[in-house]
Subunit: 193 residues, 2 copies
DNA sequence: CGCGGGTTTGATGATGCTCAAGCCCGGTGG
DNA sequence: CCACCGGGCTTGAGCATCATCAAACCCGCG
């Protein structure tokens, strides 16, 4: 149950067996069925979730009831609404499962205690956040600089197998375009190239 | 010269005078004139910069020579291309001064040594990154969910005095719209409401 | 076999872009 | 002190991209 997490940690910091055990003890395992919520708009985000297996998404629903996908999370990724998690304000986002999933949950008090008892984990989280920030920044640049078609091509280059795992509407929502537009772009690319 | 930095640190972790001194010793002060580059596309980003005074911006230039503003940085903010900084790959972005500025620069080796000698700074940087990530995430949601007008209003609510400090074209570029469109939006808002 | 979610296709329209011109204002030099 | 210059902002006309709405289609599953 903790293999993926242990691997993720060991890639970034060195922990001995005891520390790793201790670390693991702060997490709560949880299984989620496809379509099940981990977080609903209006609730406080009580966990950051590490994905051992499966796939989740976080998204925002605007006033016209349109969903806008903020993030995918597959095996080895983290997902949460950090703002709500840290401030304990109600979240404006939703998180749910795109596939049946196995998670490891960390509450805010558990994280705080973990960081006290295993200070090396500060480093783990710092490095993690650094990578997330770089990815988010890329996404901002992408949304500012490229056309819908270019954004789609870049996404496919970065995550070639994503289309096997998530529906096209999810990808469209992630790219900030409608499913119809994505469908036309794909047709375009498939034919004339 | 280090007041703003010291304040930023003390807001997040407790350092005694010695630690603070030691910390400061890893930074190199630098002044930048308006329009001067800190980083140019193609160069490796050798510093993360802390802004003691003035204002900078990071931006990307697309193949049609259009600038897209990634981030503003005023007093108390950090700026860099983290990807290039960490990987030592050439950067795809530019950073320059919007106003005369005073910076404190941290190289990658200096940062590593700092973190070894003052491990509490892991926590400082973690918290910092957490906040940056939340801000970036908001920006993604904003770019996906709102119209140009809504994005502009939200920006003005979040940073009411930004328009006193940076030209409208910079704001337009940050919002992902043309200066013409921003001008029309402002006219709209000023008149009819 | 038929239902339902996801994808495709078509017709129409809105939002924001492009290009081009004019304007405002502060700074500089004659 | 005034004329000129240049950068930034505004305005207008035409246009491209992508959204909307509606219908048909595809296919896996009960």
């Amino acid at each position: 149950m903790y293999e993926v997490l242990a691997k993720s940690i060991r890639e970034k910091v060195f922990l001995n067996e005891d520390e790793m055990q201790l670390c693991a003890s702060f997490f709560t395992p949880k299984k989620l069925r496809k379509k099940q919520y981990l977080l609903q708009e209006g609730d406080v985000c009580r966990y950051t979730a590490f994905v051992e297996k499966g796939a989740l998404r976080s998204y925002h629903v605007d006033k016209k009831d349109q969903e806008h996908l903020i993030q995918f999370a597959f095996e080895g990724w983290w997902i949460a609404d950090s703002y709500s998690f840290l401030t304990e304000e109600p979240s404006a986002y939703n998180i749910d499962a795109l596939e049946d999933a196995e998670l490891l949950l960390l509450t805010l008090p558990a994280q705080e205690e973990l960081l006290l008892k295993v200070p090396k984990m500060e480093r783990y989280f710092r490095i993690l956040l650094q990578k997330s920030l770089i990815a988010m920044q890329r996404r901002v640049v992408s949304s500012l600089s490229y056309t819908a078609e270019e954004k789609y091509i870049k996404l496919m280059e970065a995550y070639p197998n994503i289309s096997q795992r998530v529906a096209q509407q999810q990808i469209a929502s992630y790219l900030g375009i409608t499913p119809e537009t994505l469908s036309r772009i794909r047709k375009q690319l498939a034919s004339g190239k």
